[in-house]
């Protein structure tokens, strides 16, 4: 046993796969301890908030200490943030189109440009070739330019509950800063939020756990069925073998995924929990395992030690478990790993078609992809809503396939160095 483990962990491929898989598994287990939020809690109003730190504006005004930082480029950045070069060019275009002398406009002089703009811009004027989209753009731009060059601070006022009048309570200067850690409320979204306004990272990690569970359940169901049928069919032979092979052939010719779609559809969404889906996946994907096991058993059943065991009067179950299974155990483990991996992929495939587990109960990787697709994340470039999920699926399959290949090299005599 010790030797075997040493051999297995001597395989570089296996170790890399194992480490990746272990890292994923540990994240799934440890993350919820530090971030106990419910994975399906709707946290943002507005969909697809981009990744980053969100600082509470109200609290930052009330933050205990304000720091004054004198930076040279603060004003330039402030202006550039609201008035890009492209904006300047568009303003210039409008002004020229509206009869302002081209020589008069100095695009780089912000003050002059703003003066000219304030003097000339009229949202009701329609220049030739100007669209309503352009008009909306100029109106938005004009609104955002309000007070751009002001050097005054912003006044904070609150309503007096008795008189209803505004009373000045504070002034925020342009050089005021707060320390992010001193603001009472801020929130880090490493992977932004999704179409429901849920934290993608929290949801993703929870979904990975659920998908792994689905994979394990599906893999164990599939491998158990495949193993039992393969052992019995290969060892007993005769009529039993023919019947089982007939069933195997039936399942081989019907494409598994089509079968999976049909079964998922027919059980209806009411009863499609994550566990049900896992069992259904398992029930439709055992056939290759059973064929391979059967082939191996056939080659084993006439070995001397098996015949000896038979002569000793051992039961079929005993012989299968003690004399045959140990010889194919390594193969079964490898098959199990692949079954888990393909179970996860099958769930993702089903969910993308809207046939996965019902929503609201638990997130799964496939459901997250499904919702991201429905809300057109891929078209709107909201990469954080689908790319990390695809990466996780890829990593899980990759790590499992690596482990499988590693094991294969250790146990398969044909590949052994």
């Amino acid at each position: 046993m010790k030797l075997m483990l040493k051999q297995v962990f001597g395989s570089g491929k296996f170790v890399i796969g194992f480490v990746i898989f272990l890292a994923i598994l540990l994240t799934v287990v440890i993350y919820p301890i530090f971030v106990p939020d419910a994975p399906l809690k709707i946290i943002s109003r507005g969909t697809f908030l981009s990744p980053g730190i969100y600082v509470n504006l109200y609290d930052s005004i009330d933050s205990a200490t304000r720091y004054t930082l004198i930076t040279d480029d603060a004003e330039a950045r402030r202006v550039a943030g609201r008035l890009s070069d492209e904006d300047r060019a568009k303003m210039r275009e409008w002004l020229i189109g509206n009869g302002v002398d081209e020589a008069e406009i100095d695009g780089a002089d912000t003050a002059q440009l703003l003066d000219l703009w304030e003097l000339n811009f009229d949202p009701t004027v329609r220049l030739p070739g100007m669209t309503n989209a352009d008009r909306n753009y100029y109106i938005r731009l004009t609104a955002s330019l309000e007070g751009l060059l002001s050097t005054e601070g912003a006044t904070i006022a609150s309503t007096n509950p008795e008189t209803g009048a505004l009373e000045q309570s504070d002034i925020v200067n342009q050089t005021d800063y707060v320390h992010v850690n001193e603001v009472a409320n801020s929130r880090l979204f490493i992977l932004g939020t999704d179409n429901f306004g849920r934290d993608v990272l929290t949801e993703l990690i929870s979904a990975t756990g659920v998908s792994l569970t689905i994979g394990f359940v599906a893999g164990i169901v599939a491998t158990s069925i495949g193993l039992v049928l393969g052992l019995v069919s290969g060892y007993v032979g005769g009529m039993v073998d023919q019947v089982i092979v007939f069933i195997m052939n039936l399942f081989t010719v019907i494409p598994t995924f089509v079968l999976l779609i049909l079964i998922s559809f027919s059980i209806g969404q009411e009863s499609r929990g994550a566990f049900t889906i896992a069992v259904v996946i398992g029930l439709t994907s055992w056939v290759w395992t059973s064929r391979a096991v059967r082939a191996q058993v056939i080659s084993l059943r006439n070995r001397d030690h098996v015949n000896l065991s038979k002569l000793s009067g051992h039961s079929i179950a005993y012989i299968l478990a003690m004399d045959i299974l140990p010889y194919i155990a390594s193969y079964v483990v490898m098959a199990l790993i692949l079954q888990i991996s393909s179970g996860i992929l099958a769930e993702a495939g089903l969910s993308i078609l809207g046939l996965g587990p019902r929503t609201t109960e638990v997130p799964t990787l496939g459901l997250m992809l499904n919702w991201a697709m429905i809300y057109q994340a891929h078209i709107l470039n909201k990469w954080w809503a689908y790319l990390p999920i695809i990466l996780v699926i890829a990593l899980i399959s990759f790590s499992m396939n690596l482990m499988n290949t590693g094991l294969d090299q250790v146990f398969n005599p044909a590949l052994r160095d």
Binding site: I42, S44, R45, G46, T47, F48, G129, M130, T131, N132, A133, D134, N136, Y137, I139, R140, N195, F196, G197, G268, Q269, E270, G354, R358, T359, T360, E361, M373, I374, Y375, Q376, H378, I379, L380, N381
Partner: protein, 604 residues
């Protein structure tokens, strides 16, 4: 003859290439500068062009109703959802009621003629109605209780006679009046030809694909297959007469590619392959704010369009949902729901909020909002997210968690519900998820379930028996903007006349019944005094918000209307100066067709 085999192969190849290129050639030859492209209207291929049938699946040409689509067939009047008025199309001048409001008279424009050149006459209008009744079309069945007959006084004068009550008043003048802006006028001669062809067999009559149909509108069939529908302008269209539009509509072709789904439609809109988009594009503002595309909506800021209908969650009051007959439970759920999140996330802000337009039975248009006294019901208009208020209501009603499992019980039984809507209706599903989330906050167990539409619609529209398990809280639509609104919408939402119907496509699917409400709904169509109307509508809103048989989750536009101005411009927008204002209904429904005459090329 050495090259015979080679020649045959070469010829075959040429033929193959010709066959495969020919259709592509046909579609690519539409000049971009003369073609206006749409999306979101047509799904699946066109079945037919028969204006009597409701199974044409021909969204571009045939859609009768409150805002009838008038590209190919025309109605006497055009409804304008922005000002609530009707404007004459085939009709000449406004219609007139007699003093008793039992007969409505209008005349046909002298200039109006069919595509075959013959004039549109009053006899066409009368024969269209007679045919609807004779073959029991949906139009006939829907109006036969309210319209007694439509007769032609002379070539141009039409009289619509209302069905009368025993006391000699019209049963429902509102529906009679709506008929003239909702239903097409179809040529008598063509109708008779069709009747002859099918030997007056009703099934064959409605199933006929009517490829030879005669029409009066500005566009007709150019090409259809399973990938697109193209209409072409009839340059002989009567409407270019000075008595109507004074010119032809600007685009020569109207084309609609049949997209696989919304995502494909959005991609085409982004690429400038679609000019007018009638589909839900989530986060539509990103198209111009982030992508910088020349795309705009009717309003420049949220809610981007004019809300017209009220997608609503119904409580099952048919007796099969334990505890929902208890007002405290209904009210607690309704006020606890986080509506701002529904609007921000499910609708991506493409709906007015309930702070902007407080809940009532009216849609957000100014015309409907003016129809009730907002101050009188202000106390009843909840804005949602009121968890503490909801808990207090339940506590007060004695509905508390007695066994400590975190869920409240009524008479010892745990309150547990399933909220549902059809699978794949993404914005509704997201909204229902938010409703379910509110349950957990107030100690009522609500889970979601999304059956397929085919199952869902059969269950929900069966109003002659209690709803089965799984339909405790379910979502359905309500009527949008139209000439009978808001009365028609209120009737659909609240009237008990739909109960007991085996197939109820009208409304009140939750099974609400209140005789006072019924009496008001019955009375309103005959009332013309504005103050009295306002008082009656206010009473209805009051009773609706008190009894809470259902609750509106969001406002939704009549049609989504997003335009890409890469090729065409001068689409309608709020404050565009058109008089009367052109509504944002994709340039084809009701008065919005006027927008087709205002279009300009960005680069002429």
């Amino acid at each position: 003859m050495k090259f015979t085999r080679f020649t045959i192969v070469a010829l075959l190849l040429v033929a193959l290439v010709a066959v495969s290129v020919a259709p592509a050639f046909a579609q690519d030859t539409l000049p971009r500068n003369e073609t206006l492209y749409f999306n979101g209207q047509q799904w699946g291929s066109v079945v037919g062009w028969n204006p009597y049938s409701s199974n044409n699946n021909n969204a571009m040409a045939i859609s009768q109703g409150d805002n009838a689509r008038v590209l190919m067939f025309e109605t006497p009047y055009l409804y304008n959802m922005l000002d609530g008025q009707v404007y004459p199309l085939l009709a000449d001048g406004p219609f007139a009621w007699n003093d008793e409001r039992t007969e409505l008279t209008f005349s046909i424009k002298p200039a109006a003629h069919w595509s075959d050149g013959t004039p549109v006459t009053a006899a066409d209008v009368a024969y269209t109605w007679a045919t609807h009744v004779k073959y029991s079309t949906p139009t006939g069945a829907g109006n036969v209780d309210y319209i007694d007959d439509i007769v032609a006084l002379d070539d141009s004068t039409v009289v619509v006679k209302a069905k009368l009550n025993d006391d000699g008043t019209a049963v429902n003048p509102l529906i009679v009046q709506a008929y003239v802006s909702s239903n097409y006028v179809i040529q008598m001669a063509w109708t008779q030809a069709l009747e002859e062809r099918v030997a007056e067999d009703a099934t064959a009559f409605l199933a006929d694909t009517a490829e030879d149909v005669v029409f009066s509108g500005p566009y007709y069939k150019f090409f259809t297959d399973d990938s697109k529908v193209i209409l072409v302008r009839d340059d002989n269209y009567w409407g270019q007469d000075a008595s109507m539009w004074g010119s032809l509509p600007v685009p020569k072709y109207l084309a609609h590619t049949i997209f696989k789904d919304n995502a494909a439609g959005t991609t085409a809109l982004q690429a400038g392959e679609v000019d007018v988009s009638q589909q839900f594009n989530s986060n539509v503002q990103d198209l111009w704010l982030v992508d910088g595309l020349p795309i705009s909506t009717y309003l420049p800021e949220a809610p981007y369009g004019i809300g017209a209908s009220l997608p609503t969650a119904f409580f099952n009051l048919t007796g099969s949902s334990f505890g929902l007959d208890n007002l405290a439970v209904r009210k607690a759920i309704a006020i606890a729901v986080d509506y701002p999140t529904i609007i921000a996330n499910a609708m991506t802000n493409q709906s007015a909020t309930f702070d902007q337009v407080p809940r009532s039975l009216m849609n957000p248009t100014p015309g409907e909002q003016a129809l009730y006294d907002q101050a009188a019901v202000a106390d009843l208009q909840w804005a949602g997210n009121d968890i503490e208020g909801a808990k207090a209501i339940l506590d007060e009603a004695g509905i508390v968690d007695t066994d400590g499992d975190g869920w409240r019980e009524l008479d010892g039984q745990k309150l547990s519900y399933i909220a549902t809507c059809p699978n794949g209706w993404s914005d509704w599903q997201a909204a229902i998820e938010v409703v379910a989330a509110a349950g957990a906050e107030i100690g009522i167990d609500i889970t979601t379930n999304f059956p397929e539409w085919s199952v869902y619609q059969t269950v929900v529209t069966k109003s002659d028996a209690p709803l089965p398990e799984g339909y405790d809280i379910f979502m359905m639509w309500s009527a949008g903007a139209g000439p009978t609104q808001p009365w028609g919408r209120i009737r659909n939402l609240l009237s008990s006349e739909w109960l007991g119907m085996a197939s109820n496509w009208s409304g009140n699917w939750g099974g609400y019944s209140n005789s006072e409400v019924d009496a008001l709904i019955q009375a309103i169509p005959s009332v013309t005094d504005e103050a009295e109307l306002k008082d009656m509508y206010t009473q209805l809103v009051d009773m609706y918000l008190t009894d809470i048989p259902s609750f509106t989750l969001m406002y939704r536009p009549q049609s989504f209307h997003t335009v890409n101005e890469s090729v065409w411009t001068n689409f309608p927008y709020d404050g565009d100066g058109t008089e009367p204002p052109v509504p944002p209904l994709d340039l084809m429904d009701g008065w919005s067709v006027a927008g087709l005459y205002n279009l300009e090329l960005v680069n002429p």
